[in-house]
């Protein structure tokens, strides 16, 4: 409680200081610039998705926006705010039914008058928000949600996604597993019974069976979302003894699973591949990462983050303030905001004045910009959908005080290996045997 209180104090102080530091009307601003750029930031602030996803996301967004306003971010983002104009963030809770989210989006745009909306973690929300963003002609940048349908089934003008879709996670981990365990014979899956779990397992299974058709599936388990109690599932997995167990569990469910599977040594019996293992690094008492699991972080984030000027800066700042190295969610939110800044400034450079939304959108399409952890390229969905590399490693050790893991046998897959080429739907691409893929 006390720590939270003082943290809040620090946050408030930093906000005030950053406000004071920002020059009122800098001469660097282009003509026609508004007093501020308002960004709506939407993430889960309550409910089960808050601790591991929503709150870290908000932390990342807040840290970056404050640093941008203060002009403290390293090159190429060292100009204050966006085009010299300070950013003001409006935070909204993503929890609640989908009609509520659509209402809140409209309120953000029409009442809070935000210029840009950034965020969204739930795929259902992304699918519901995209057409509304189009209708309101509001630049909207999705940060974490993974469903490939957003840009594979529709074309959007005002909507972008600055992270790769979820195919890279399950496909990448399937390729990784085949590389480290070439004699693989049996697989099993334990995934939550909802769209993310279903899609993840389908991608994993399909990829494995494409690349090694003689593999046998021995168990497909579907615990309900947020059930938290997996002893029956774990017993079945122990009895089935598969070579590899795939799981896309995340958040509290993943932690409960790890907590219950460790004492019965499931992670020693089978190679367990977790696509969202970085969730285990969020601070909190008693939490740990088991040895010997395949560790995924939905891209090159967390312990897999490449060394760049920006990643060193962002990771260092984030750790200093929140006590752990950022997992994928804060990086994803930061990337969305950096993408917005890059697009705006590219449009300003072209027009030499404050750009219209359409001009920003044009500048954003097919943009390649320096993200918080490596370069982001908007290559799919007519230049609206990012492609990213992905990497995995096996956990050798875990340091609970620093909340860091050491990985061995790290393999990184380049963009061309795990992302489908433009114009090809992901699932068709997998079924056709990955035409055009460049893989190790």
């Amino acid at each position: 409680m006390d720590r939270r209180g003082s943290l809040l104090g620090v946050v408030l102080l930093l906000t005030v200081v950053s406000w004071l530091l920002v020059p009122g009307q800098s001469s660097a601003q282009p003509p026609g610039a508004p007093r501020e750029v308002r960004i709506g930031v939407v993430s889960f602030l309550s409910g089960p998705a808050a601790p591991h996803s929503g709150i870290p996301s908000r932390q990342g967004a807040q840290l970056l926006i404050e640093a941008l306003n203060a002009g403290e971010v390293p090159r190429p983002y060292n100009t204050p705010g966006i085009g010299g104009v300070p950013i003001r963030a409006v935070y909204v809770d993503e929890a609640g039914p989908v009609d509520k989210q659509v209402t809140e989006f409209r309120r953000l745009v029409l009442d809070a008058r935000v210029n840009v909306v950034v965020g969204y973690i739930s795929s259902a929300n992304c699918l519901a928000i995209a057409p509304v963003a189009e209708e309101l002609r509001t630049l909207t940048v999705f940060s974490v949600c993974g469903i490939q349908r957003v840009f594979e089934d529709a074309d959007y003008k005002y909507v972008f996604r600055t992270r790769a879709h979820q195919i890279i996670d399950a496909l990448g981990i399937a390729r990784y597993v085949l590389l480290v365990k070439p004699d693989l014979k049996t697989i099993a899956g334990i995934n939550q019974d909802y769209a993310w779990g279903r899609d993840s397992w389908a991608t994993f299974k399909e990829t494995i069976l494409q690349l090694k058709p003689d593999v046998r599936v021995v168990a497909e388990l579907w615990p309900p979302l947020f059930s938290g109690e997996y002893s029956a599932e774990i017993a079945r997995l122990l009895a089935a003894k598969p070579d590899v167990i795939f799981t896309s569990l995340w958040g509290g469910d993943l932690e409960s699973f790890v907590g219950q599977a460790t004492p019965v040594r499931l992670f020693e019996e089978s190679l367990v591949a977790m696509t969202v293992a970085d969730n285990l690094l969020v601070p909190g008492p008693g939490r740990f990462v088991p040895r010997g699991i395949v560790f995924g972080a939905r891209g090159l984030y967390g312990p897999l983050t490449p060394e760049t000027t920006l990643s060193r800066w962002f990771g260092g700042r984030f750790r200093a303030r929140y006590g752990y190295f950022p997992i994928h969610d804060p990086f994803n939110y930061a990337n969305s905001i950096l993408g917005v800044k890059a697009a705006f400034e590219k449009a300003i450079a072209a027009t030499r004045r404050w750009p219209t939304v359409e001009e920003v959108v044009r500048a954003f399409e097919y943009l390649e910009f320096e993200g918080a952890a490596g370069r982001i390229r908007l290559a799919l969905g007519n230049g609206h959908q990012a492609v990213e590399p992905v990497g995995f490693g096996i956990v050798r050790s875990f340091d609970p005080t620093k909340r860091e893991v050491t990985l061995e046998r790290v393999i990184r897959f380049r963009v061309e290996c795990v992302n489908p080429p433009a114009g090809v739907k992901s699932l068709d691409w997998i079924r056709r045997g990955f035409p055009g893929a460049v893989c190790p």
Partner: protein
Amino acid sequence: MQWAIVLLLAIVAPLLPGWTVFLLSVALAKALVVLGIGLLMRGGLVSFGHGMYYAAGAYGVAFAMKLMGIREALVLAVLGLVAGGLLASVLGMLLARYRGLFFAMLNLALSMMVYGALLKFYWVTGGTDGMAVRQATFGGFVPPAGLLRVAYFYLSLGVVAIVVSMAHRLVRSPMGYLLRALRDNEVRVNYMGGWVEQTIYRVYVLSGGLAGLGGSLVVLNVGHAVPDFAYWSQSGEFVFVALFGGYGHVLGPLSGSILFEFVRSYAYKVSPYTWQLLLGAMLALVILFLPEGLWSLVERRMARRDRWGWSWRPSS
């Protein structure tokens, strides 16, 4: 009375800020579901599963658009009504025999199975990611962007006006009085020759149809249908709003629904981190101090004439 309110809403709406118009359309559409639930509650039956009819309407629209290519808003709304009504007419045959909490619980169980089905048949329904519902047409036209939301609003308002006036008439009809008598004492109604099961069945189907109609209008406004529409917490919310507004008068659900949506949006806005606390506190206050709903405030101020037709008060 209700026409004055409808007229007022119709005149004021285009002048309101854009997101308010949207909020009102959704609130009006949900008011239909609440109205149906309120009718059942007049008969002493509380359903914690009407989310399934709401979902039936919403998915009915989504499938009609996807498979049959129907895009006319009014046709889709009627389809939602039919979808909800059909499902209710099948399940109602079982449910009309139940009373009290058993009725509530069985509705809940069935709605959770509908939820499970929507989630399980993900290759048809898209699972929890849901189904998109495209832009509807109005008499063959797609309204220009600036007028689109207003068009949806008038659609919701028009439907609500018709339904409310019909419900008002129903409440004052012999069937309406029979319903109220059922709540007080079913056995006596039976002895007096009242057609108990038939009345309950009819009202149940009607309320299912209204929930379907509401679901179809909501999904036309929102543009996305998800299995959560059938989840128990959604059904619970409808019951809540019915009590919040007060189901003693047909305008209770309407005002309750509108107020609830505004209050919730306000709570999201002023305290994004603790909106549940705000919402919960407000709801607790209403239950403790206005147990007959917000509309009872209005009623207390109104003339007492024709009280019999206006309202019902618990006898115990």
